[in-house]
């Protein structure tokens, strides 16, 4: 997987690992080419009185930051940059114009990319090219982020150099789907950037278009005691398994994977992925009764200390945990907490409130849900439960088999620009269950249907559907 033999190329714990110095473009002098004083007095190319207002206030100002990039570029030599020096200045100029006119100044669409792939780059052209030539071409490059968005500074500095040498030096960290985004470069730099990314950083580009988009994950077992499966390993594995589907659009529309380690949903898979993997468990919540007492005694702050900014009074386990449990399956007898686990829906509340006393079960896997999407076209959807529990152990063959069936069916049956959630809605969840070869279960619904417009298969009905009116008339003359 990855570039063979290079899976640990950047690992600082591995001898002979690659460093920033091995691939850097800019020298230290080029990087530190301005003083704080110069930055304070810096006047960008265009006047931007409205944007300047957004330099005030405490929250980090994107305007101040882009100005810093503009100054840095101004002090580099022109042959230290492959796209216009003024790109950051012109971006501010164009956005200022949009602030005045209250309309965007980017032209519609733009189809650009790299050979061999059908996605990963979003083309964009200014409609004010004479005024702002620096952003005449201003394409974004999506780069597949590492799991959990963990980085070493060596690798990240390499990314910065490519981004500044061949692009605008402006990024999104990160796009909503998860990618690192180079915000702004020209068409002639797309292939050179791709070669640098793959050859020097050892990273591929992300997805765009009618394909598998870049999968993303919560940080899972790296730093969370709630994680019920290895989100980072599975996200990486699935990303590598489906590289072809990610890079070469072959689907009716976009398709997203997201991996949440538990039902808290820190990467929002239930709302933002066509196929949501959400960790869960099937045995008992693990209880440390001594720690429960410490919570009651006020020795441990409730909810991991997340509520300490306000005086909520003493911790009241009856009111805050027992009575807030959605299934009322908990009991506190004044000395011990007990949980009727057969009635628990694993909502996480009690564990979230007392993470030092309660732990997720030890027999762990994930639930599989399908079909989340934003409103266009048929309305927003959350993902709906299809597989209640499945073990998630590398190499995840059991899960891949299910996912493959779903994708193959949607690729065959889906209409142009129809998300899988809309297809399931159009043909009914029952049809989808047939596709997956799984029986129906009450857990698939919030409630059974209230209208009686039910389909039956002919094979389910004694005698079938072929009938002769003459037979009927023998019993019921017209």
């Amino acid at each position: 997987m990855g570039i063979p033999g290079q899976e640990h190329l950047w690992d600082k714990e591995v001898k002979g690992h690659r460093t920033y110095n091995d691939i850097r473009i800019f020298t230290d002098e080029q990087l530190k080419n301005y003083t704080e004083e110069e930055l304070k007095n810096f006047k960008p190319k265009h006047d931007t009185p409205m944007l300047d207002e957004l330099e005030k206030g405490p929250w980090p100002s994107f305007v101040s930051d882009i100005k810093r990039e503009a100054l840095h570029r101004k002090k580099l030599a022109q042959d230290d940059m492959m796209i216009p020096r003024d790109v950051a200045d012109d971006l501010l100029g164009q956005v200022e114009l949009s602030y005045v006119e209250k309309e965007t100044h980017w032209k519609h669409g733009g189809i650009v990319g790299v050979l061999g792939y059908g996605g990963g780059v979003v083309g964009r052209y200014s409609d004010q090219q004479a005024k702002f030539p620096g952003v005449a071409h201003f394409h974004t490059y999506r780069i597949n982020q590492p799991g959990g968005k963990f980085y070493t500074t060596d690798w990240l500095r390499g990314f910065c150099d490519i981004c500044e040498y061949r692009g605008s030096g402006i990024t999104n960290m990160h796009g909503s789907t998860g990618d690192m985004v180079i915000l702004g470069t020209t068409s002639d730099q797309l292939e050179p950037i791709f070669f640098d990314l793959t050859h020097d950083l050892g990273v591929d580009i992300g997805g765009s278009g009618g394909n598998l988009r870049t999968p993303s994950d919560c940080l899972g077992k790296a730093r969370c005691e709630f994680a019920c499966f290895d989100t980072m390993d599975m996200c990486y594995d699935m990303t590598m398994t489906y590289q072809d589907e990610l890079h070469r659009p072959a689907f009716p529309y976009k398709f997203k994977f997201k991996f949440d380690g538990c039902p808290n949903g820190c990467v929002a898979s239930i709302a933002r992925s066509d196929c949501a993997f959400i960790g869960t468990w099937k045995d008992d919540i693990r209880i440390n009764q001594e720690a429960v007492k410490e919570y009651i005694a006020g020795k441990i702050p409730r909810n991991g200390g997340e509520m300490t900014g306000r005086d909520w009074g003493a911790f009241n386990i009856q009111e805050e945990v027992i009575e807030r449990c959605p299934t009322q399956c908990m009991n506190w007898d004044g000395n011990k907490i007990s949980i009727n686990n057969g009635e628990c829906t694993r909502c996480m509340h009690c564990i979230d409130v007392m993470p030092e006393a309660l732990r997720v079960g030890a027999d762990q896997g994930l639930s599989l849900l399908f079909g989340a999407k934003a409103p266009i076209l048929e309305g927003a959807r959350l993902a709906t439960l299809v597989i209640p529990f499945i073990y998630a152990k590398s190499p995840y063959d059991n899960i891949k088999a299910v996912v493959r069936k779903a994708i193959d069916w949607w690729t065959e049956e889906g209409k142009n620009r129809e998300r899988i959630g809309e297809l399931i809605n159009r043909v009914g969840l029952g049809t989808f269950l047939d596709v997956l070869g799984i029986p129906a279960m009450p857990q698939m619904v919030k409630e059974p249907r209230s209208n009686a417009y039910m389909f039956f298969k002919e094979s389910e009905v004694p005698g079938g559907w072929k009938r002769d009116i003459k037979d009927y008339r023998k019993r019921h003359p017209a």
Partner: protein, 392 residues
């Protein structure tokens, strides 16, 4: 790395030396040593103070994480400063969160506190924080947002500017943990809703209010007309032939609700408009399964003016909702949980937001959102209806 216009790329032999399908960098190599050692071994965590988390492993190890705000749109100069900080305090490791905050991980509380101090002291020349520490617990963390006028062709508003304005107004909640529950804010600049707008506690949404203008001259050459017709959720678009004999489309203004999806499909149907475009506010969505099931956000304000550079009407409205929720909701209640408990009529009464006909659903499954019950609470708006018909 390569230098020069083409770098390693040889346009005469474009497929030569091309590496494809190598995927992302494998994650283990980017994990700080203490994280690798305790991977999958964590037993509990605690937030020691705003922005400072501690995780405890079964090995006895502890890690301390300092979280700070990020503007999401950031220059490489900013990332390099993040790298400098990570080199100085964290052995050269850093990560980002799913809400675009930045996290620095250390193995001691002293190091974490020194780091926190360093981060809070760093400011841009004009005065804004570069790395405000916070975003943990029951407060307001980074606002998930989109491209806006910085990079997209179909927005009805800007993203970065509205977010900056809102985050400034709510800044005290980023650095403190005094709300009844987590409060997630998201922004999308059109109703494609890239990101989390449809499932956030408070969502800010750019919205058009004028039908598209059909560019008859351009459409035949630029657009696949059946795709344009199929793009409309309300079947408002029909194929027509213009008097000049050109293929085009017509838009039934009575059926168009300005979603902009036809423009997404066809450059010849622009609809952005400086006077028409506005901002909606949605509330009550959530993603977690905690206590209650995940919920969609609901529209509570149909149109606020698009008023750059500070969008005061938007920030005032958001702040008002946050303030009323903070003083009225019970512990652990998300905004949606609170609004459902008190009833939406009370939500409108307490927040003072006007309820207008726009926010009554009229799309397909609208019926499910109407009140098929006599259970309601009396408010001024109920008396207004009674008065209108001489009821009182």
């Amino acid at each position: 790395m390569s230098k020069g216009k083409l770098g390693y790329f040889n346009p005469k032999k474009p497929m030569e030396n091309r590496i494809t399908d190598c995927g992302p960098q494998r994650y283990e190599q980017f994990l700080p040593p203490v994280i690798r050692k305790n991977y999958g071994k964590w037993v509990s965590h605690r937030i020691l103070e705003p922005g400072l988390l501690m995780h405890v492993s079964e090995t006895g190890d502890k890690v301390y994480t300092v979280r700070c705000g990020g503007a999401r749109t950031m220059s490489v100069e900013h990332i390099r400063e993040i790298c400098d900080i990570a080199d100085k305090h964290c052995g050269g490791y850093v990560r980002w969160t799913t809400r675009n905050n930045v996290e620095f991980i250390t193995d001691s509380e002293e190091k974490a506190k020194a780091l926190k101090k360093d981060l809070d002291a760093r400011k841009f020349p004009a005065g804004s924080h570069k790395f405000p520490v916070g975003g943990t617990g029951f407060g307001i963390t980074g606002i998930v947002h989109t491209q806006g006028w910085i990079h997209c062709h179909c927005p009805a508003t800007d993203a970065s500017g509205v977010v900056k304005s809102t985050a400034d107004v709510l800044f005290e909640h980023f650095t403190d943990m005094k709300l009844p529950a987590k409060l997630r804010i998201a922004l999308a600049c059109c109703l494609n809703m890239c990101g989390a707008v449809h499932c956030s506690d408070i969502a800010i949404l750019g919205y058009h209010r004028k039908p598209p203008i059909v560019d008859d001259k351009m459409i035949g050459g630029a657009c696949e007309i059946p795709l344009v017709i199929a793009a409309c959720p309300l079947y408002a678009i029909k194929p027509v032939t213009t008097p000049e004999g050109k293929k085009s489309v017509s838009v039934n203004y009575d059926k168009c609700m300005f979603c902009g999806n036809c423009y997404t499909m066809c450059a010849a149907m622009p609809l952005a408009d400086s006077e028409g475009d506005c901002i909606n506010i949605l509330v009550g969505g959530k993603i977690s399964n905690r206590i209650t099931k995940p919920k969609f956000s609901k529209i509570v304000v149909a149109a606020l003016p698009n008023n750059p550079p500070r969008w005061p009407e938007v920030t005032d409205t958001v702040k008002k909702i946050v303030d009323v929720y903070a003083s009225d909701a019970k512990k652990y209640e998300r905004i949606g949980d609170w609004a459902e408990r008190i009833g939406w009529e009370k939500f409108f009464e307490k927040t003072g937001l006007p309820f207008t006909w726009h926010v009554i659903d009229d799309y397909r499954l609208a019926y499910d959102t109407l009140r098929t019950s006599t259970q309601f609470k009396f408010t001024e708006q109920a008396w207004a209806v009674s008065k209108t018909v001489g009821g009182i």
